[in-house]
């Protein structure tokens, strides 16, 4: 299983890999691998667990979803311009049979978030999302974009209106613009989950739950009850569901005919 992008870095032998990533599959024979492992023990006092080629591509969406603007460095960000080609590669690579998306995000850029959500929704391979910790704001459309969505019992999703700060010159136009932005997000959520538009709007404009704002904090079981997410669960459920869907897909299409 190969992981997506993260900002944190761990340097090793001049190369560096994000700390959640596994090494790229070695291109050398078993003998070379053994000597590389011995080198690692001698030089670093540690050994890499032998990597098994996985047929699941795992993508993590963490921190802020970064869009058209580079955010200041105190933000942990998920860079959408890297995720999009990764999803293209996952769709195209015949060895990848399913995609698992793990979310723990505070939201971010509307356009970038919707782009990622649309990409996941239009993948032909089975997809499962798992919300851990939080899947807030623009994380909600990403969370509902997969074939099957799972939320940890302790995780929450904050559903609130898009807001802005700063100088507003043309109030009616600004209102209209933000309303249209919100409408895009709402439409995606409603068409990719079982929640009704009325219920979503009720949550959006709820008062008394979210500090400094209107909106609702929806916990794991409530997200399932409202029809936003399919089930409460964890990584075991996510992998099981993905494997089931991958098997189903294999059974439906037993012949892999390469495109010429």
């Amino acid at each position: 299983m190969r992981m997506g992008i993260l900002g944190s870095i761990q340097e090793k032998e001049g190369l560096s890999v994000p700390f959640v990533s596994e090494q790229a599959p070695p291109e050398v024979g078993p003998d070379h691998r053994r000597s590389a492992a011995t080198d690692n023990i001698q030089q670093l006092g540690q050994i890499n667990v032998p990597t098994m080629e996985s047929n699941i591509f795992c993508l993590s969406v963490i921190g802020q979803v970064e869009g058209h603007m580079i955010l200041p460095p105190q933000n942990k960000t998920t860079k959408y311009e890297h995720l999009i080609p990764q999803l293209v590669a996952a769709e195209q690579n015949p060895r990848i049979e399913g995609v698992l998306i793990i979310l723990n995000t505070v939201g971010g850029d509307v356009e970038a978030g919707l782009a990622i959500a649309e990409m996941i929704a239009s993948l032909s391979k089975p997809t499962v999302t798992l919300v851990l910790g939080g899947g807030h704001s623009i994380g909600v459309p990403i969370a509902v974009s997969a074939d099957h969505s799972i939320i940890a019992e302790s995780a929450t999703m904050t559903i609130h209106p898009i807001r802005m700060t700063g100088l507003v010159i043309s109030v009616p136009q600004t209102f209209e613009y933000l309303d249209k932005m919100q409408e895009r997000v709402n439409r995606f959520i409603v068409t990719h989950s079982r929640i009704s538009e009325e219920k979503l709007k009720e949550l959006l404009f709820k008062t008394g739950e979210v500090p400094r704002d209107i909106g609702a904090t929806v916990g794991g079981p409530d997200a399932v009850r409202y029809g936003l997410i399919h089930q409460v669960g964890g990584i075991g459920d996510a992998i099981r569901e993905l494997n089931r869907r991958m098997e189903e897909r294999r059974a439906g299409r037993p012949m892999e005919v390469p495109l010429q």
């Binding site: 992981m3 560096s16 890297h82 080609p85 850029d109 700060t165």
Partner: protein, 76 residues
Amino acid sequence: MTLYTVLPLEHVLAGVEEMDYAFEDVVINGISMQVEFLGATRARIVRLYSADLADYLNPRYSPGSIIRYQPVRESD
């Protein structure tokens, strides 16, 4: 650009005016990328501009990875 996030915008954007990056475009192993200099011999990958699809799945080229420069004599 519209940010839709639970974090207060003033927290997300704090320090945006002081951001001063030394970005440079380089080509490594046929991959064109933007890097941020970290001193004379090291740089951090910011984004890949153009790469083989498989390179996007290779963690060695993921944003945040460090690349190193080797000083060589100019006449070499």
